[in-house]
Symmetry: C2
């Protein structure tokens, strides 16, 4: 075992991934405190964070919404909604065009919750008309679940159109906005969203440790007694905050302090619009530079979001992903492998504390790596 | 909302709690890095941590054990064992003498797992003879679950004697060693322990964000297909580490880096024996100083451990816990309320980066607060 991570005398490799992300130094410095999870000072911060998340979502307690922080990764948050907010005789319709939709299916299988899956190809957005037909045909479906930005490819799904369909059929609507919340405007009213799940270490640019759920209070209140898990019991978690301001179980205090700072930096950047503008700039810069070295995106322009961008492997016998990844890493940049079954791709994240100059730098490293590997022509 | 937590120009209040704890500055400084959770550098650290936990437990992979890190608080770890390692027709015997035993009961209720509870009073250790009689009488019981240090009071339960009973009856044995692992020697062989759960931010003195389970591999392997939850699927989590070295879902990378450093500091202190010696010293210093100001421990000496110490409220009409807590906090020390239903107590944690001088200082603050409140005679 090494002597522990050294002090940051070296520069960390920037992370071109969908999270954990590169965060700002002030966000990390906020973690140099040990907060008492029972103490009023910390509880006041937790409440301020919950309030701020509601404001970012454009909703309010008076308007019937609330926000809940939950320990664990974003997956724990999505599963908490299924484990505690779907009744024993419930049935979930999952819209899937990638790994995160399929992960929802796995969760429902483990929890023995009845479900049906509406799949489209990984480069085709979810289909609201197909959902409409399904809900008309299957009155047993109680809940609809969709992924906003399917990080598998970076495709953006039409969550508002899906929500209108769910509302028409009076079904509860769950949105996994893990990698989009904070960098895409999301209209809860227009989208008829009942539960939205995101995570501390995505577009808010905090560090990992917890996730959060923004939900319609009346819908959550109706779930009393449904929970199949204690740790993942969302209503109980909210009631804990309301009772004494505390997480029911030990919170990741340092991650919470980092998130408080990350929310300040989001405001400093101009909120969701400002952050979206930088990520769009990153994405455009990336795509243009990659195109110049002959690497093309996987998704059609109209559905490719500005969160993470998928590129098709160079068609060249000397291209090998593992060697390519290693070479680019040794140059100081961490890429992300593809997760797609239908195409050979790799991904470059545009989110986190990255700027257009970082996008140009990573493409330069990619070009160098390809040249070293003898992958010279990449049409 | 404030401008975010300031840089640590002020001293954090030391935490006399059972966690999160006061940690060392180097442990916190280790968090000033953004690690890629997919990258080989981070994965090598995760493996080294898993190896080190096995070594601390005195077990090995060759000897049939393995260690698993899981996102979330310690409660998530205990629940992961119930949710994924108890079959549908399983039945758990829970030994309870406090809030953490009762929390296990809540978990089993939520998961609709059959169970039976063997309770003793909060100042009486679990009773191995009663467990023996229960297991002899009820062949339906498949699992036995106990809490080593019941943090409700700080009582130490006889986990080895309980384990011998479980082994005699060939039942699977689960130990919640949340607040003891790292500061009490635990003999897996003598105690016939199948699953032991602890957390990053207890006696190893890391920061919160994840927990860990050390388990007998053959017992875990037999659980395939039993999991009721995806996030809390322990066997799947282990298989994820084995497949590619990674957490299945986003890990709290900064907490993991802090834990790596915390393990180094545990070694520097002389391992479990050295850490236990300091905590014992803290506990002795605390009890002696409290006795001098007339405050007495709740537990009999023989069963009071050195992790956290319960004290009986002063018998005085002017004593009020809330005011007392506030006054001591304003003097710069954070106490912990009691969790006991059977007696009015408060608790002082001996664990974390605290030394006998801190214990003397907190008692001085307590004495001042009582004097200010007019709680002058505390017989």
């Amino acid at each position: 075992m090494s002597n522990g991570t050294p002090l940051p005398t070296h520069k960390d490799k920037p992370l071109f991934t969908p999270g954990p992300l590169t965060t700002s130094l002030p966000v990390k410095l906020a973690m140099l405190h040990d907060a008492g999870s029972w103490h009023w000072e910390f509880n006041a911060k937790v409440l301020a964070i919950r309030d701020k998340l509601l404001a970012l979502a454009g909703v309010s307690r008076a308007g019937g919404f609330d926000s809940i922080l939950l320990q664990g990764s974003g997956t724990f948050g999505v599963e908490s909604v299924f484990q505690s907010c779907v009744p024993g005789n419930g049935k979930v319709a999952v819209l899937s065009n990638g790994a995160y939709g399929e992960r929802m299916v796995l969760m429902l299988q483990r929890a023995r919750i009845d479900h049906v899956v509406l799949r489209t190809a990984e480069n085709i957005p979810n289909d609201p008309a197909a959902l409409d037909a399904l809900l008309a045909a299957d009155p047993a479906v109680t809940h609809v679940a969709a992924v906003h930005c399917e990080t598998t490819t970076g495709i953006i799904n039409p969550i508002e159109a899906l929500g209108r369909v769910a509302r028409t059929h009076r079904r509860t609507y769950i949105v996994d906005a893990m990698s989009s919340f904070g960098a895409y405007p999301i209209d809860f009213a227009a989208g008829a969203i009942d539960y939205l799940i995101s995570s501390a270490n995505k577009c808010i640019e905090g560090v990992p440790g917890f996730c959060f759920v923004i939900c319609r209070r009346a819908v959550l209140d109706a779930t009393a007694g449904w929970a199949r898990s204690l740790s993942l019991d969302l209503l109980d978690q909210l009631k804990g905050f309301e009772k004494n301001g505390q997480f029911r179980y030990t919170p990741p205090t340092h991650s919470v302090l980092a998130f408080e700072r990350a929310l300040v930096e989001l405001d400093m950047e101009g909120g969701i619009a400002g952050r979206a503008a930088r990520y769009q700039d990153n994405h455009r810069t990336l795509v243009a530079a990659m195109k110049r070295i002959g690497l093309l995106g996987y998704l059609p322009d109209g559905v490719q979001g500005h969160i993470i961008t998928s590129f098709i492997y160079p068609r060249h016998p000397k291209f090998d992903w593992t060697e390519f990844y290693r070479r680019v890493a040794e140059k100081g940049f961490l890429l992300y492998p593809g997760k797609i079954s239908q195409a050979d791709t790799f991904r470059v994240g545009n989110i986190g504390r990255l700027f257009p100059s970082d996008m140009k730098a990573v493409v330069n490293a990619i070009a160098e790596a390809l040249q070293e590997m003898g992958v010279t022509s990449t049409e």
